[in-house]
């Protein structure tokens, strides 16, 4: 449980921090796309009988880079580029699992998340990506500027494309390390709901970021503890708790509107 709580808090921080850029850039579908890419990577890891994390991280990162590369090189929208790689990764994942002759229940752990399955390796990899995120926190100002208006940022000579790739890679790794806690099926919500809730009640992007991180960490903690005592899947419990917070946020916004 202690391991799960550490992983949960760190993953809560990571997903909700990157979530603000995902939500504000209208890339909510990216979470789903990369989660399914991670499924392909995990399936390949299971097929090769190696630690799925080590395969899923490079696999998902390559897919993330490919999505942004295709979007940049063609006139296709983000959703189309994500949709293409989403399907390819899922198809590969299904083939890899089919080729694995001995049935493995591990796949379900990755699909739906399991706090019992969180290993020491998962904790360390989450700590490493958290440290990298903290090192890159000064980039928040550039990422926020691009999220507001890409063209203005480009005219100010910011390395917009390079920053996009870096952000995509960090989001991809976050998704992979979050899989054990939340599961592939629900990870996209983990990325989107805290940021969307924070957006409802924030007047500045800074406020939105801080609030999103607080919601991400808090909901992961409460969700994990609740799932432990209720003996239900951790990912689903966290997401449902986040959904309650989202609707409370909507209620608060409506009340503010009525009161004026």
């Amino acid at each position: 449980m202690q391991r799960a709580l550490i992983a949960g808090v760190l993953v809560g921080f990571l997903a909700s921090y990157y979530g603000v850029f995902v939500v504000q850039r209208g890339l909510s579908f990216l979470g789903s796309g990369l989660a399914h890419a991670a499924f392909g990577g995990v399936a390949l890891g299971l097929l090769l009988n190696s630690e799925p994390l080590w395969i899923a991280v490079p696999f998902t990162t390559i897919i993330a880079i490919a999505i942004f590369w295709v979007k940049k090189r063609t006139n296709l929208g983000s959703d189309t580029a994500i949709g293409i790689f989403f399907s390819i990764s899922m198809a590969l994942g299904i083939i890899f699992l089919f080729l694995k002759t001995d049935y493995s229940s591990d796949a379900f752990t990755y699909l739906f998340g399991s706090i019992i399955a969180v290993t020491r390796t998962d904790i360390w990899s989450t700590v490493v990506i958290t440290l990298i995120t903290i090192i890159f926190i000064p980039l928040w100002k550039r990422w926020a500027y691009v999220s507001f208006d890409r063209e203005l940022a480009e005219t100010d000579h910011l390395p917009v494309d390079r920053d996009d790739y870096l952000l995509a890679i960090l989001i991809a790794i976050t998704i992979v390390v979050a899989i054990k806690v939340v599961g592939i099926v629900l990870i996209a919500a983990f990325l989107v709901i805290p940021a969307a809730t924070a957006r409802l009640v924030s007047s500045t992007f800074r406020q939105m970021t801080i609030l999103s991180v607080i919601i991400g960490i808090f909901s992961a903690l409460i969700g994990l503890i609740a799932s432990y005592y209720l003996d239900v899947p951790s990912g689903a419990t966290i997401i449902l708790f986040q959904a309650i917070l989202f609707f409370l946020g909507m209620l608060l916004k409506s009340l503010r509107f009525i009161i004026g």
Partner: protein, 248 residues
């Protein structure tokens, strides 16, 4: 100091097989007000974007104050996109948007070293009362003022505007032209503005660049917007609307 702030020579831009700009040659003098006029799809935005370094020329050269667009310091250029294209859902205060004009980044803290300069810029455009208002709650004209404050805060030599009158009312438009002209006079800056409005071009601009992918004309408004040139650029220059009444 260059006599010309913008020098464009034999500029061509081709996207796939589409020729967006064909053989553009202009020299824009310092401290002038230039209107870029042309029909939809004439390459006006492509021309501005190539000056900003956002679109690379297929061939030809562009010099801004003697340097290529990529070499020009961002502080020397102020760009105001169409306010209707801005993300009004972004949680931001007007003052934060102005600070980006000085910092080239989104501000984390409100107690920013550039905050006084940002307030001063808002004051110059009569928008200091909007400083702490969310951009989602600004009207088109108010957001245009804030964008203008963002631009003049950095005191650029060259200000480029993409259809600045779009989405603002007639009073807002007059105010905006007054503020632009006042900035031009006080700072000796050059203003480049895309507009569909021939009358605004005639009234405010020292020079007009008339485009329809090719350069139709460049010169003082009366000359550049002659009937022949307009016919060449737009195909036709309008027709009168006569109503017929049948009295029984």
């Amino acid at each position: 100091m260059n006599k010309f702030i913008v020098e464009v020579e034999q500029a061509y831009v081709v996207f796939d097989s589409h020729q967006a700009l064909i053989d553009i040659n202009v020299q824009i003098p310092q401290n002038s007000f230039v209107a870029i006029v042309g029909p939809n799809g004439a390459g006006k935005s492509t021309f501005i974007k190539s000056l900003l370094g956002l679109v690379n020329l297929t061939s030809g050269t562009i010099k801004i104050d003697g340097r290529s667009p990529q070499e020009v310091s961002p502080g020397d250029i102020g760009y105001i996109p169409q306010v209707k294209t801005m993300d009004r859902t972004f949680p931001a205060l007007a003052i934060e948007l102005v600070i980006t004009g000085l910092d080239y980044r989104w501000p984390w803290k409100r107690s920013h070293p550039n905050i006084d300069r940002a307030y001063e810029a808002l004051q110059r455009v009569g928008a200091e009362h909007l400083a702490n208002r969310q951009i989602s709650k600004l009207s088109g004209g108010e957001l245009q003022r804030v964008c203008l404050a963002r631009t003049i805060a950095r005191e650029p030599k060259l200000v480029m505007l993409d259809e600045p009158a779009t989405g603002i009312d007639a009073i807002g438009e007059t105010d905006m032209y007054n503020m632009l002209e006042s900035y031009q006079t006080s700072s000796c800056a050059t203003i480049l503005m895309i507009t569909h409005d021939w009358h605004a071009a005639t009234h405010h601009a020292d020079y007009v660049l008339l485009l329809n992918r090719k350069q139709i004309s460049f010169g003082p408004p009366a000359e550049a917007l002659s009937e022949d040139n307009l016919r060449l650029a737009f195909g036709h220059i309008g027709h009168s609307h006569r109503l017929k009444f049948l009295v029984k």
